[in-house]
Symmetry: C2
Subunit: 692 residues, 2 copies
């Protein structure tokens, strides 16, 4: 599982008291009373601060943690998969062979990974709300963006290369917090197992359990060319998670939609999810066939195909949840309860009463223009690495010439380090693959907007989509990092003079794309933001603050315990073993274990009874991938890599009977490093960290 | 457009009086009063009988008509497309070059086309209802199948090679009629234009208008090796359709769902349509990439890809209609009206009152087992020509040993000629393509039913899907017609002894497939059939018989007129011209006209002002493709090949403001034959037919 569908994320809060296991708690508001009652556990402020700083965010959409005093970072294989692929070539396929740096000098830098350590949280609610007070539509949108950019710029100051500051809207605008992170962009790959071990069972087993995956990767954080020496890190527990044990998961859930209004949920069910699933299905067929064409195509497309299949399963689960009458009934009852509470008091009604209808109005606009926005500005119609570089260059030139507070949000000074990391990535570009993706997405653009649409005609001219894709890819030099660097540094003049066909195209359509974006921001987003903030305030009035905000890809603590569940009347045990993996194997992809595993077993070196994967009741969602599972002593007992199939409905509600997080056991990671991969130095580093 | 989704077809009737243009009328119940009032037209019984017998059905899912006394048959290119592809090879690609038999001896037999001329309709309601009276579930299902098979066998007698008899359930069981057809299986290709002309605009323009397609094909019916000499045929009108003129379309609409219950409509909206669309999307991506791999792959996959894209667009239109709140409101009101009528009288309530809830119960069962049925018995999980042959052989051996009335419906004596035509088809099989389709569908089978599902394990064993597909295709000899014939003629013994891997697989899973089919028939179909019949009877009580039944892929007359519509405030003119095609062309696929067109224009031979395509208000649906558009004198003024985008909602209701049929003008067909294709003999045959 991985973070998906971030554009749908709208923060909100639960209207009912959290049930056991439920809750994605911010580090500064842990549910202390519940923890004492449920687990007899009382985290001290020191414990919480230590955990907060040992945990990490992977800015691209995952979680991780420091696991040694020498900056070793634990996360999932599927979170480093694209790095592994980017470091591979036709000769050296680390996806297939796995990767192990026997010494630190062998560790290789990942072109696009950024780590964030959360150093401080500050409340900026008053300042943000003051800036937007009394405004609506475009005024609201501009004011909100400007104040956020200003706060972030003040926070990062001149250290934006190593300091990242994000204003986060929690409780859907009920609260605004400034998150200050330490930013690390020199991140090197230390270990990744073979895909066959990391993703054993493949798409069929994804979101299922029992499970047998070594979905781990080890990175190392570097600063000034040397391994980082973090003060806070999690030692490994060799014994690992035990049945019934309290498990704490600290990570960055990407987004939940637990408190959307009915109008928003209906839009998701009837339009957004169906459209997204249809698109993913077609991409999936396309990539499946492309991948089957040769070993090289397999290597090139596998990471994208994983992402597509993963997202497909996630959104299918979302749709299934929303098509379940009981779920909608629950949502209907919750909305009714809150609206009745508001309507019962004339003052409240005056302040909040119109919010739901205003959101419904924004939803109607989204229904009318959302698809156009997604295809023109959202990038669906131009599925191409080179085009996205061209857009960054064209916009970067225009935006950097403006004052920080007036720029598009992703071009403000505090955001540029993340953007330029992507823009200057050394990851290879495969022209044939780019042509396939771009040609196909242009065909879809024409289909969705219509052959006669002026924007479509502007892009395609008299070309067939695949001919245009060929001409663009063959004619462009943007695959060369040096060319991109020169254009970035050359600024507006260089970009204006460029005759690179992707730059020409990005220039040609930039005004159209900005126009639909502006309309979307002013007529949809700002209306939703403003009115969701009112609903959030109404919720605070009614339910107080002992609740958690919807997920926002920021750090959250989730408390649960190791426990199976009942599936159609049959109990599902919480653990699998390494031996079980051999029983589950058929020898055929994706149920084939790699040779290293077969050899280790044959040599009698492997502890087949070692606990391998396990489930716990923690409330997590995509984005939590790579989160450490720790015990009360803040030791790593596991590594989150998935949820069970029922966890997908967790986007809308938490069902403690069925919803489970799926993790790799810490003992299995040590066992595999030592006895399968001969990674004794890394295993030693993890184990000795434990002894301090 | 083409017939799709036949399994969803459930006949029913409109609860409101038909509006102008609306109605798919059976030949024995034309709306005479309406015709007189609306068009001042009174068809005589002789006129109706003549039209009925000049019109034809293509048993595979299209319509056509005799257009000369020498058995020339007019239909769409997209209805003969698979024949054109089957007659092509890497050396001779008639899809690309088009096909013209300059003399009759050059006409080539289509391997899988069967024509049906409707000779007689007899009412058999009493006999069918007597056989099923008082029965339900499995008893009902068996009795219904037995009586239908018996009636059909009596009707066809020993002439089943040339006589086809189908018992048709109209008004959803309110009426049963026996349709006796003259069956013609020696059908030869005389003319097909290039795909670039026939399907100019491709998928982007499909279901759109203005339109510029020469979507025509000419076949010739043969008997005893000689061209047929039909008494009834339609002469061509050179002047063709004029604005405002009454147009009669006679053809075989495949199915409409205008009177499903709310429970059935909700199932379609929430489950069936979404599932089908997701499947089609993934197939589309797969075939798109396969087709792009080489010219040969393009040729091999184009017909399938057309079918997939066409179905996708159709079902997307169905989903859009059902997601339109107004459509569901209409349906809700209609159901309420009828249920209140039933409830108002205790006798009616006793007879019909439970029917809606019974259908809702069947829908719940369908929700639970429908997917399993589609994937195991419906063929979704084994997308392979060779597997379908293997199943026919295995089942054919078992079924032919039983009495006719106890067989599976498609193996009764009266159905065997159609089945063996497919089984003994000489159409080529492309092993690499079969492997791609089968491997992919097996992967989906595993995904949908689950890795651990016993049926999946039985099929896959320890194989990866693509490995199994390779082993089956490489190991099988069923691509050879002689092998299939020997197995068919060898009967049960030969099939039992065969070690062909597809036969082995078909034998292995036959009991499972039959079991889910039986369950589906007994718990879903028979319950729906029985209770729909009750609802139909209630409708007759309330609305009488001056209404038309839902479409059932049997002959219907539709009356309308040539007329544009208003699209978003702008009028759409009803005609395009041949010159317009050149204006619409970009030179790039699918907007490139073939060289023959460019040459004809350059030579100044082409009448650019000739009307080309046109729209009319006739009420049609997929299956009507290839229907002649005739005038009051029963002359061909056009050829139906599509509906506009609004016509897709016609599956659920007819909207006279927007719903339009799209046709090729008769004058354009003559113009193209003479002045582009040099097909003067065929043009002469069409024009001289007119003069008789």
């Amino acid at each position: 599982m991985k973070r998906v569908c971030a554009t749908l994320v709208l923060a909100a809060l639960s209207s009912t008291a959290a049930v056991a296991g439920e809750g994605m708690w911010t580090p500064d508001n842990l549910p202390l009373a519940q923890l004492r009652a449920e687990y007899g556990f009382t985290p001290t402020p020191q414990w919480a601060a230590h955990v907060r700083k040992a945990a990490l965010r992977l800015a691209g959409g995952c979680s991780g943690s420091f696991v040694s005093p020498d900056g070793l970072v634990l996360t999932n294989h599927h979170c480093v998969n694209s790095c592994v692929q980017q470091l591979s070539s036709a000769d050296k396929d680390y996806i297939k062979s796995g990767f192990l740096a026997r010494e630190r000098k062998d560790e290789i830098k990942c072109p696009e990974i950024e780590l964030n350590r959360l150093d401080e949280i500050t409340d900026v609610t008053a300042r943000v709300q003051q800036a937007t007070h009394g405004k609506s539509g475009e005024d609201y949108s501009k004011a909100e963006k400007a104040v956020k950019s200003a706060i972030e710029k003040e926070c990062a100051g001149k250290d934006s290369a190593t300091t990242r500051c994000d204003v986060v809207s929690l409780y859907h605008g009920g609260v605004y917090k400034l998150y200050r992170y330490h930013r690390i962009q020199d991140v090197r790959l230390a270990f990744a197992p073979e895909l066959e071990a990391a993703f054993f069972g493949g798409d069929p087993d994804n979101f299922n359990f029992p499970r047998f995956d070594l979905d781990m990767g080890l990175l190392r954080a570097y600063e000034q060319g040397k391994p980082m020496r973090p003060k806070d890190y999690f030692p490994f527990s060799r014994a690992g998670a035990d049945a019934g044990e309290m498990t704490v998961i600290v990570g960055n859930p990407g987004g939940t939609d637990r408190q959307l209004t009915l109008a928003q949920l209906e839009l998701a069910r009837d339009v957004d999810l169906v459209d997204s699933l249809l698109l993913l299905s077609e991409r999936r067929g396309l990539l499946t066939q492309f991948r089957s064409e040769s070993a090289e195509h397999w290597r090139i497309a596998q990471s994208d195909l994983f992402g597509v299949e993963n997202s497909y399963k996630v959104l299918r689960g979302h749709l299934a949840a929303l098509q379940e009458p009981a779920v909608f009934e629950l949502k209907r009852a919750q909305e009714r309860e809150l609206r009745e509470f508001v309507a019962a008091d004339p003052v409240r009604q005056g302040k909040y009463g119109a919010a739901w209808d205003e959101i419904a109005r924004a939803v109607a606009v989204e229904k009318a223009i959302g698809e156009r926005h997604d295809w023109i500005e959202g990038g669906r119609g131009l599925w191409s690495r080179q085009f996205s570089y061209a857009r960054m260059l064209v916009r970067g030139a225009a935006e950097r010439a403006k004052p920080d507070t007036e720029r598009l949000r992703e071009y403000t000074d505090s955001k540029l380090p993340a953007l330029t990391q992507r823009l200057f990535s050394t990851a290879p570009i495969y022209p044939d693959y780019e042509k396939v993706k771009l040609g196909w997405s242009l065909t879809k653009l024409r289909e969705i907007l219509g052959t006669g649409d002026p924007f479509v005609r502007k892009v395609l001219g008299n070309d067939a989509p695949e001919d245009l894709a060929k001409r663009l890819v063959d004619g462009s030099k943007l695959a060369d990092v040096a060319v991109r660097k020169a254009l970035w540094e050359g600024g507006a003049d260089a970009v204006a003079r460029s005759d690179d066909p992707f730059i020409v195209l990005a220039r040609l359509i930039d005004a159209d794309a900005r126009a639909i974006r502006t309309r979307y921001e002013n007529e949809v987003e700002s209306v939703v933001d403003k009115n969701s903030e009112l609903i959030a305030a109404a919720r605070f009035d009614k339910y107080g603050t002992s609740v958690y905000p919807d997920a926002t890809f920021t750090q959250r603590f989730s408390f649960g315990k190791v426990e199976g569940w009942i599936e159609k009347g049959e109990p599902v045990a919480p653990f699998t073993t390494i031996g079980g993996a051999f029983g589950h194997a058929t020898g055929a992809y994706p149920f084939a274990l790699p040779q290293s595993w077969l050899d280790a077993k044959a040599a009698g070196k492997l502890n087949l009874d070692q606990r391998y994967n396990f489930v716990s009741t923690n409330d997590i969602i995509g984005g939590n991938s790579g989160s450490p599972v720790i015990n009360a002593k803040a030791e790593v007992v596991g590594l989150v890599f998935d949820g069970n199939i029922h966890s997908l409905g967790g986007n809308y509600w938490y069902d403690g009977r069925l919803n489970r997080a799926v993790s790799v056991h810490s003992g299995a990671m040590l066992e595999a490093l030592r006895n399968i991969y001969g990674a004794s130095a890394l295993a030693q580093e993890l184990e000795s960290a434990r002894k301090r």
